[in-house]
Subunit: 782 residues, 2 copies
């Protein structure tokens, strides 16, 4: 137990208590009441909502903290945002922002009077109203909660490069059991007190989750203390169920914490490079404090339910609400009394009005060096080769240098492996823990955030973006599924906030997926999964974009576009291994701008109607397709082949389904209405069917892609095992174009033989056949 | 630092050292050599593989531990399995199991002689060979690694209900940064020393991950000690780079740890209910110890690479390999010398031959009470209602009671919320932490494993299944995406092991997803996602199954089928809210056995050719479809409607794509070849298109499902917002069946009005219109 004096005057205690009672009253009212919001008359069953939805249990604790944070913000003139890990405490945050006035500023229809309170109550968890979480609709929120685990990672992301910001982050003891949260404590090794802001983790132990006690509430005090110290924190404890003393104790502890943070920041900003043991608060109070079923799991959601036909429960509810003495909190018009709202700071110091929690307000365009200056020279398509991500790395390095307080790169220890190492060399990795002589490019000021946790990378980046900055997450393709559910919630946040006028657009969340399914040589079957794209395209088309640049120049063009964009999730898949260059920079820009196009230089239809269409999306499918087209040109020169490359995957979809979708007319013009289409795709083949099933020529579409075959083997064996190799694509053409005759039959047999030969070579030598490994052109470049 | 005496004789030290050198030699050989495996001649470039793949850095540590575990297994007659979190240390585990003989027993073609060593070396990370991980191909493995984070959860799952088993679990300091691993330490609150086995976590700090130092290697000793104590462990430390003393120190520490585990188990089995502070080991040794670039990140993968054309590197490699003195380890035939292999325990005590690591060997059928006895009475379809999961709960309770050492239920604090509470009431939740008087159904012996971490639930269950037991994971549907990538790896493990003859089939991994997208009343948009099914069906059809039982009796039938099945992942989606009963138990069994069928009682085509097909999959889509059919029967009695219900989703796919797939003939017989099909589906509608795009009548298929609309609102408003409500289905029919005339036009207008009326009612009252809430039949039951 921390020693705490009694720092508050009686008036200050009264003010804190009044705010707390008001917030609790307004929270309970949201959960239960349709009418009679200030209990001007006896409570009747018809004043109560027919469906009771909400979570009371965590709310009084959230409200208590809001009140006390208001006090320290005023006392120390702090810029603070409040992250409520227990997202179901939504009514609490709505109540507090209404009390401080920020709620009515963005929702003028919900005034600060009795009519406003009635609407405030009615809308909560009501059709057409607001969700029960600290949803995007809640002023001051950058964290909805809902799915638990990411509060603390979001808090750290918000604090990066915001030296004057204090992020108060309430972590429920339920959430604390999740993996992502358990890992997030170590974020303090990545926060630089000299140039970043402060995070105050508040572990709120109320003892229960939905139906069970929580782990951290049932270990010993010594264990909890050791755990927090092990995580690198200095824990402060407030553990009480005493309404008389809680305010003094909590205020004294928060003052000590704020002083400790100031000392740490002063030291660092005066040159200390020691890793601080940042303070954190353990607040142990009863679940559902001040309500019925206090301190039991029964207070988790709605402590009094089934009110219809149970008059005594309605009476209990009324008694509960009256225990907050609303008559002392609101005036005749239902306005909160001046002595209640006096606790709130002014203007943007109010946590519901702090612009960091509406990051689009603070967003500035990145200074982007001209990506054309980083282009690789391409004299002729398909002769030279580049490592696409390494080329991108040069540009990203200069993006990072030019935007050294507003752009960061995040990755799970894979940034160099993904060949973006130029960034690290110029800007270092962020690291506050011990640095040894042998370490390279580690520094407190690093711009690259690397930790072996995709959850932390994603959570930090989300927090960074939602507070108005820019970033990129690079990952091995296989492992990005780790954050599937985090992506879900961010995409849903973006969808929802597009329709909230006072929320300003934020920078897009950019994924760069490399070491992809076709070229992850060190790994085997366990690492192969190109299905993140499938997951992404289930979300609303207004917020998701998927790009598969076929070469280095296209990757540069796509990346520049993505970093300029707003309020999307952009998924870019690009290889890191040497791969052919196809397009000059100008051609790449034109191609990526269209998102899809015919490659005349690879086609043999002379611009007329083709006999067959070879389409491709992704770098390896493009290589195999171009090679197949070359084989066909050499061996069946009379066959008219059209080659189409797709960069922007959503071009395939109907324009009514996705804003990037091609019209049916354009789609038909490209893919014909009746010719066979052999489509080589980077990922699971059925995704192409799902995107194109409404298209006229869909019945003639044959897709090759990854079908869960292959393990540790050579790159060419991987495409063979999945029937996407050039030889198989030629076979597909021969099998589907009618009337090709004997030459085609012989070519088909030759292709079968080539596959057997390549397989045998690989099994014998452990490598691809030399002519495949170094494949450029099998015929003259047209 | 733990005080350690010198417990070993010189001979014992020599024996440990010889094993370690042999394992290291064999590991390096796997990474590098194609020929000259025992260096009988000078090493030449042509003896070296052309592509060097593998991870050396973690391997010497894994080998050191294997050697020492061998010693304690022999000394204390332990039954032990070895989980290697750093999965890329595959060569080490292959080497050790080859040394102990278990490898050659399952792979007789890889003998224990020079020819066998040559093959052992060649196959590693070589086309047609074995992956670089501790893959399913590795004897003794239940954990591939690859994606990091789940080693310790798997270890705890393996130890449950295995009182005589010791699970040694090596955790790399890279893996320790992940969220799931960080949460896994708290698993010790769920392990009962009286009836479960022991887990020995070994945190192996070698300082680096791919390119970065690791967090836990760069915090202070005091912090690390506090962290482990905070997690509830008693840490033992071995921190050394001294080849002379490491064996004495590690042996002494392991003896102390084994004694501590024995004391804890004795106490518990003699009645102590105190939560023990289980021992754990921190082993800090140099990365890539004994190799080039020792103790630097450069030793992570292949420390000497690019050997072609660099004679000096080939010489370095030879010197490195000779430093292990192979001539002292192998005889003239290349057989390991008796004094080397003497360290290995005998028979099934060898960690590569312990049957717990090939769980199918130990698997017994569950004793399943007859699910028919739990049926709800159904006099007539669509009159009575049940909560499907609550009905299932009664049966699951009796399954758990009847199989009280081989079946557990896992869930993230949602088992009661998902209305399976009967199980908890009969068997308690497992809990070793403090229990207070108010707690209900918490006990060390509990059969229900609840922690607020889907990662832990999944990891524990996987460990439990892979060691030969049975289980069920229940979760809210929205949150199951948290384990997308864990599912991936388990499905890949199942696919791979189907083709490994010595691996015996294990019980299926069963998911029960409830509180689904259509009925999660407390929550909003952030919780809505039925896309886990989409994710699952990307995996090999031979291992995945998806069921959408429409009512309680069907759920019972499906669940029984799933619990009897082997080596699948079964996904069951079922609601928990009161919902209509349609089928008697006999009908349900017949329907679920077929997996798809025409519901004559809901149809109006008299068994002949229909004008339109209404298909449905999922409980809510079924309700709306049956209601739509009833509306059509009432208002357009001349229209011939066929109603098809789909329980087994994979019946929709082509029989060439999935073993459950319908033939084209059967599909056409059900869905017709030319009539409109209106399909109401539980999840994202395009999944139905993806499954059926090859079907004759696909162009006439119109699918309704969840399209990311709706937030906190009433259940009926949810289906309306996504256009899947009964009224909209009727509109869909009218819009697609030609020649319906004026009555249909009027009915269409009526349906539009009904939707507006329902929406207005909901917005006004916060509830569904009464007749919808209680909807049974709008017309006479036919």
């Amino acid at each position: 137990m921390t020693e705490t004096p009694a720092p508050l005057s009686a008036e200050e205690v009264a003010r804190l208590d009044a705010w707390w009672r008001a917030a609790n009253y307004l929270s309970v009212g949201q959960i239960y009441l349709l009418g009679n919001p200030l209990l001007r008359e006896p409570l009747l069953p018809e004043h109560v909502k027919p469906r009771l939805l909400g979570h009371w249990g965590t709310t009084p604790g959230l409200n208590l903290l809001y009140a006390h944070l208001n006090r320290v913000i005023q006392a120390h003139d702090l810029s603070t945002i409040y992250i409520a890990g227990p997202g179901h405490g939504g009514p609490g945050l709505v109540a507090s922002t209404w009390l401080e006035g920020s709620y009515s500023e963005v929702y003028p229809n919900i005034g600060r009077d009795e009519d406003g309170i009635r609407k405030l109550f009615r809308q909560f968890s009501f059709p057409g109203g607001i969700p029960s979480h600290v949803a995007p609709e809640t002023p001051g929120s950058i964290h909805e909660g809902g799915e638990l685990g990411y509060a603390l990672a979001h808090a750290y992301g918000a604090a990066l490069d915001n030296p004057d910001l204090l992020v108060a982050c309430v972590i429920g003891d339920g959430e604390a059991e999740t993996g992502p949260l358990a890992a997030s404590w170590h974020s303090n090794k990545f926060l630089n007190p000299a140039r970043d802001g402060a995070v105050l983790p508040i572990l709120h132990l109320n003892g229960y989750k939905i139906a069970n006690p929580t782990v951290l509430s049932r270990i010993t005090h010594d264990e909890l203390d050791a755990l927090m110290r092990g995580y690198g924190h200095t824990p402060f404890f407030v553990e009480t169920d005493d309404l008389e003393t809680v305010h003094q104790e909590l205020a004294g502890t928060l003052d000590a914490i704020v002083a400790d943070i100031a000392r740490i920041q002063d030291d660092a900003r005066n040159g200390s490079t020691e890793r601080p043991r940042w303070p954190m608060l353990v607040l142990r109070t009863p679940k559902g404090w001040t309500g019925p079923n206090e301190a039991t799991p029964a207070s988790h959601q709605v402590p009094l339910s089934g009110l219809a036909g149970h008059e005594e429960r309605v009476e209990q509810l009324e008694a509960w609400m009256r225990s907050y003495r609303p008559e002392e909190l609101f005036d005749d018009q239902g306005r909160p009394l001046p002595e209640v709202v006096a606790l709130a700071p002014a203007g943007e110091r109010r946590m519901g009005a702090n612009p960091h929690a509406n990051g689009g307000l603070l967003l500035h365009d990145l200074e982007l060096p001209d990506f054309r200056d980083y282009a690789v020279e391409v004299d002729s398509p398909g002769y030279s080769s580049s490592e696409a991500t390494r080329v991108l790395g040069g540009w990203l390095r200069d993006v990072a240098v030019a935007n050294d307080t507003s752009f960061r790169i995040f990755g799970p220890d894979e940034t160099v492996s993904n060949r973006l190492g130029a960034v690290v060399e110029a800007t270092d990795r962020a690291w506050m823990a011990e640095i040894k002589d042998a370490d390279e490019h580690m520094a407190p000021d690093g711009r690259v955030m690397e930790v072996l946790s995709e959850h932390l990378c994603q959570g930090w980046l989300e927090g960074y973006l939602l507070t108005g900055r820019h970033g990129l997450f690079n990952s091995y393709e296989a492992f990005i599924h780790i954050v599937d559910s985090m992506f879900n919630q961010h995409a849903k946040w973006l969808k929802t906030t597009r329709h909230i006028p006072w929320r300003r657009p934020v920078a897009s969340l950019n994924y760069l997926l490399s070491s992809h399914v076709w070229r992850q040589d060190h790994n085997g079957f366990s690492h192969q999964d190109p299905g993140f794209i499938d997951h992404v395209v289930n979300k609303k088309s207004e917020v998701i974009r998927v790009y598969l640049p076929p070469d280095a120049n296209c990757l540069l063009s796509v990346a520049d576009h993505c970093l300029r964009s707003r309020h999307y999730v952009n998924v870019i898949v690009a290889g890191k291994q040497p791969a052919l260059d196809y397009l000059t920079m100008d051609e790449a820009v034109a191609h990526c701008t269209r998102g899809i196009g015919i490659w005349d230089w690879a086609s043999s239809d002379g611009g007329g109607e083709p006999d067959v269409v070879l389409a491709c999306a992704g770098d390896i499918p493009t290589l195999e397709t171009v090679a197949a087209a070359a084989l066909l040109r050499e061996h069946l020169p009379e066959l008219k082949v059209r080659v189409i490359n797709v960069v922007d995957l959503m071009r395939l979809q109907d324009e009514s389904e996705h804003p990037h979708g091609l019209s049916h007319g354009l789609f038909d013009a490209l893919f014909t209405t009746d010719k066979p289409v052999i489509f080589a795709y980077h990922g699971y083949p059925w995704l192409i069917h799902r995107l194109t099933y409404r298209r006229t020529n869909h019945m003639n579409l044959h897709v090759r892609g990854y079908k869960e075959e292959g393990t540790t083997t050579t790159p060419f064996d991987m495409v063979m095992l999945n029937d996407m190799d050039r030889f198989h694509l030629v076979i597909d053409v021969i099998d589907r174009v009618p009337g090709l005759g004997q030459r085609a039959a012989l070519l088909r047999q030759q292709m079968v033989d080539e596959r057997l030969r390549a397989r045998a070579y690989t099994r014998e030598h452990g490598d691809d056949p030399a002519e495949l490994r170094d494949w450029v052109w099998t015929t003259e470049n047209p």
